[in-house]
Amino acid sequence: MKQFLSFVRKEFYHVFRDKKTLLMLFGLPIVLIVLFGFAVTNEIKNAKIVICDYAEDEATQRIINKLEAGNQFKITKSIMSHTEIENAFKKENIKLAIIFPANFNKDLLHLNKAQVQIIADASDPNTANTLTNYATAIIMDYQQELMKNNTIPLRIVTETRMLYNPELKGATNFVPGIMALVLLLVCVLMTAVSIVREKETGTMEILLVSPISPFLVIISKAIPYFFLSLINLSVILILSVTLLEMPINGSLWLLVAESTLFIICALSLGLLISNNTQSQQSAMLISMMGMLVPTMLFTGFMFPIENMPVPLQVITNIVPSKWYYIIVKSIMIKGLGFSAIWKETLILFGTTYFLLFVSLKTFKNRLV
């Protein structure tokens, strides 16, 4: 028994004297709870919707007031043609469009029946469903209200159309997210570990005391993983298209080009991490722990970014996978071209350049 207690005491010493492990032990749960607590919410907040009110009568006004009452929707009212509505979905990232036909109230009064069209961006089927249900509920609420003063049953029929993903396949939302996650993790982890391994075995010392430029050393480390990631990418795409019936509505070459950019970005991040770690274990820990959680949370495929509190939303802007996710969805699901995603591409390019620049600048060409 005494021996057992000796061991226990020793183990406590080890734990408390290892500052890095302590940080993880206590820091990580706190960070996770805070992040997940705030980020994860299925409530809708500030969803961008457009209302096309052709009728502009008291009925539509009542419904619109109700829709505006909560803070779930950020409403823009404008009259748009169908093409214009489609563009709004594509370019302005609206989530929902509600269209009231010209004779809305008149139809209600005279025909006891009116129609409303709801169009949702179903590339994220969960959000689409939630928004549609919510809008429908409000409309039904109004219907109930009317029925109180009327003995004849009234009906407001909502006709829903799910854009981009009529079958509401979950895959359309999560496959691009998985692509981002997998490419990021693999590239970061593999380059970081590979470089740090040279440090650990001591071969890095020999490479440093040689005419070869450090730039070439680390670029050569990244190259095999670059090609492997392209293969990885192909496999994921093939599987998604054949097994999960994902569409590739846009240009495949554009998709590959953007993915190449993202891969280079992830590799640069790996290089940066390896500059500052001395052991493979640390490299793995930082790559996995440090990259996994933020990527999952902040890419936007698990939890919609609009639902997060503003400070977290700002943080998501520095997570490269968030931009890649938008790019992939735009190309694969919405079938958009470069003109729609040039901003995101620019951001990704800038991030990559910055990471490469910093990692090369901070590469230690001496020990310690």
């Binding site: 001591g202 010392e205 005391v209 040689s210 001496r366």
Partner: protein
């Protein structure tokens, strides 16, 4: 002009807490075989890393082939050969692949400088397709040496190349170094083994980051200030106690089958007086003789 020069080099770690190299200065001439002799933690590796430009000294200057280790590090890195401790090789590459890689890194080929490594490489050749990780310690040592030589360096830095290697390989290694010397390469070797010191042309004895002396092994031995005696008897353990407590004896250190002693006020009678003392203490088979000190004797003397 000397090939390697150090002037008042100081290196500390842990924000000055650990003084690894404490005001070290010395020079190594072209083509010299120079040994840095000292225990673990004496500062040998730190000195080598400063000379190969892997570490910056806290103060002091150093140069290799006339190039400053801080400002001209790129030039130095092109011209020196370096074999760090624990023979850093690519474990999952074969002997051939390792050597070819190191040759290419230095913009040359194995063929170009083959004459330099031939004597060593022939011993490796039967294993040339074997992965480096699967070689014995002695073989790894030879491969690492080839790797450090393949670009015909002007100066070769070998950090503890014989540690952890079997006795036979160690002897062979020093033979190879002597052969290399004839090619005109300046060689700096560090080792904790005192017996290897005599195989060098000049040595520096280093302890706790400071140089105790720098000279040829012969000169160091000649400078030993006292007359050294070796004493032996039937019970060596008891003998050591007796000798240490003897008021006539200044120091007593065990050296294998003899104890090495120095008399406090030695004269022609001291030896016989000691024999008598020991006989009275019931020791048998007493043997005392005057001996020339070894480097280890000198090292111990300097440590005190």
């Amino acid at each position: 002009m000397a090939d390697v020069v150090l002037n008042n080099i100081v290196k500390t770690y842990n924000k000055g807490e650990v003084k690894a190299v404490n005001d070290v200065s010395f020079e190594v001439s072209k083509g010299e075989l120079f040994g840095l002799i000292g225990a673990d933690g004496a500062g040998k590796t730190s000195i080598f890393r400063i000379l190969t430009t892997l570490l910056l000294p806290n103060s002091g200057t150093a140069s290799v082939n006339g190039f400053d280790v801080v400002k001209d590090y790129k030039t130095i890195r092109k011209n020196v050969g370096y074999m760090p401790g624990k023979f850093s090789l690519y474990q999952d590459l074969s002997v051939e692949e390792n050597l070819n890689f190191f040759a290419t890194v230095f913009n040359t080929t194995v063929a170009e400088n083959y004459d330099l490594v031939k004597d060593i490489y022939v011993q490796l050749e039967p294993f040339k397709t074997r992965r480096a990780g699967k070689l014995s310690g002695g073989m790894k040592q030879k491969l690492a040496l080839c790797g450090a030589l393949i670009h015909r360096p002007t100066v070769l830095f070998l950090d503890e190349p014989t540690t952890g290697v079997d006795v036979v390989s160690r002897k062979e290694f020093w033979e190879m170094l002597k052969g290399l010397k004839q090619q005109g390469i300046t060689i700096l070797v560090s080792t904790p083994y005192m017996d290897e010191a005599t195989l060098c042309e000049r040595i520096a004895l280093i302890q706790n980051g400071s140089m105790m002396t720098i000279d040829t092994p012969d000169n160091i031995i000649k400078q030993f200030p006292d007359k050294l005696f070796a004493v032996k008897a039937d019970n060596m353990s008891r003998l050591q106690n007796v000798l240490r407590n003897d008021p006539q004896i200044k120091s007593c250190f065990s050296f294998g089958d003899f104890h090495h002693i120095i008399f406090k006020n030695g004269n022609e009678h001291s030896q016989n007086e000691l024999i008598q003392t020991l006989q009275e203490a019931n020791f048998q088979n007493i043997e005392i003789k005057h001996i020339t000190p070894s480097i280890e004797d000198c090292f111990i003397k300097l440590m005190n």
